[in-house]
């Protein structure tokens, strides 16, 4: 169900996994109420650290995308399909933005780099600086 992550991409693995799960939910590969694979299974199938998988699951729970029932496992929360309304709006925003950038003469690669840059800034802004630097 889940694709192999890229450990060398520079993006933390737990973030990649979170994105994968969100994407699986958006695509309908995971439905509300459906159980996610056990942390152990994901760790072994994707050959990644079980603590990293656990961290991704915790953050998905904090974001309300997943519910963790102790002793049973992790389940896609009922409200998780809410995002499709947001997604449709988001798609409209993205479409307008890209059309405007393209009409300015930017190539696909230039647009992609602009977006990656903004995302990187967002990501960096979220990082808590360690106390001892």
């Amino acid at each position: 169900m889940l694709l192999r992550l890229n450990p060398s991409s520079g993006i933390p693995l737990y973030l990649q996994l979170i994105e994968q799960v969100k994407h699986a939910i958006e695509m309908g590969a995971l439905r509300p109420g459906e159980q996610l694979p056990a942390i152990r299974k994901i760790a072994e199938d994707l050959v990644m650290n079980p603590n990293t998988v656990a961290r991704a699951y915790r953050e998905l729970e904090q974001a309300g995308i997943v519910e963790i029932k102790h002793g049973t496992g992790a389940f896609v929360s009922q409200s998780a399909t809410g995002p499709t309304k947001i997604l449709r709006r988001a798609q409209a925003v993205a479409q307008t933005a890209i059309e405007r950038l393209a009409s300015l003469g930017l190539t696909e690669e230039e647009i992609r780099r602009l977006v990656e840059n903004e995302l990187a800034l967002l990501r960096v802004a979220k990082v808590k600086e360690p106390a001892h630097g």
Binding site: S8, G10, P12, N49, P50, N51, R113, A120, L121, V127
Partner: protein
């Protein structure tokens, strides 16, 4: 840190007056997969020998499962809970694979027949071949089989995938992950294969010339380290006093490349304040972090 399985403080060790380790702290918690990195000669094998109790440090302390590593009875009991794979994969030269497994088994009351069978099948080691006739890769596999089969709670591995092909490496990585996930084993391993460390470790320490220079959760390091790629309209006449966090700066004509270990947002703002500059932020691999810190310091 709750449940530190390995706790080393201020380790120092010199050989013939030359310091091999110059103040190393290690905190490895239960269930962690800990990657220990460094160039050849940086002090990795010395550290592992200290953890194994084969060497005594000049100063500093090592505790494993909360007990000091020495020759006391407690220390011997602790060694039973640890599985080792050493750098040169040395094993008794006069035994066959089969003989060595049968010889080792009775030393460990916690021997796991199920794990032994699983790995004998997976590693496909010829049972009647003598140890010196095994390839390096096979010796690595055999040593790993022995370390895992005795039911160790902690594995200390020095280059465990040395000499193995990509398929075998992936098998080993998957088994290490399964051990951590299913048996709650703690794994401390050194490796030159940064990609494999990146794949399965949750925490890493990089040492260089006997000292730790990078330490932390891999996820946090990946988030903190960023590469800034800056293109200026004109070459800089006066050198810029870059803010804290710029680990490696390379300037070539109108482009400046900065590897930041932290403070990327502030550095980005600083870069954007330069006239006519365009700045890109790129994520950084463990290899880049490693090379930036240990090359030509």
């Amino acid at each position: 840190m709750a449940n530190p399985v390995i706790e080393a403080l201020g380790l120092r060790k010199s050989f013939h007056g030359r310091p091999a380790l110059d103040g190393l702290d290690l905190h490895v918690s239960a269930g962690s997969i800990f990657g220990f990195l460094g160039r050849n000669g940086a002090g990795k094998t010395t550290t592992i020998k200290l953890l194994m109790g084969l060497l005594k440090s000049d100063s500093g302390s090592v505790r494993i499962f909360g007990q000091p590593i020495d020759t006391s009875r407690k220390a011997i009991e602790i060694r039973r809970r640890i599985g080792f794979v050493t750098e040169d994969k040395e094993l008794y030269p006069y035994m066959t694979v089969e003989q060595l497994v049968r010889f080792t088994r009775p030393f460990f009351p916690t021997w796991r027949d199920d794990l032994e069978r699983r790995y004998r099948q997976m590693f496909d080691l010829p049972p009647h071949r003598k140890i010196p006739d095994l390839s390096k890769g096979m010796r690595s596999k055999l040593m790993l089989l022995l370390a895992i089969s005795h039911g160790a709670e902690l594995l200390i591995l020095d280059e465990p995938t040395d000499g193995l092909d990509p398929v075998a490496i992936e098998e080993i990585l998957r088994e290490l992950v399964a051990l951590a996930a299913q048996e709650g084993a703690t794994i401390f391993f050194s490796s030159h294969q940064l990609a494999e460390v990146e794949q399965i470790a949750d925490r890493v320490t990089i040492i260089d010339r006997g000292r730790p220079i990078v330490d932390g959760l891999l996820d946090d390091l990946k988030a903190r380290y960023q590469r800034l790629h800056i293109v200026l309209q004109e070459e800089l006449r006066d050198p810029v006093q870059w803010l804290d966090g710029a680990v490696h700066i390379r300037q070539e004509g109108r482009t400046v490349s900065i590897l930041a270990s932290r403070n990327a947002t502030a550095l980005m703002e600083q870069a954007l304040s330069l006239p006519g500059s365009r700045v890109e932020l790129c994520p950084v691999t463990l290899k880049e972090i490693f090379l930036a810190h240990v090359r030509g310091n």
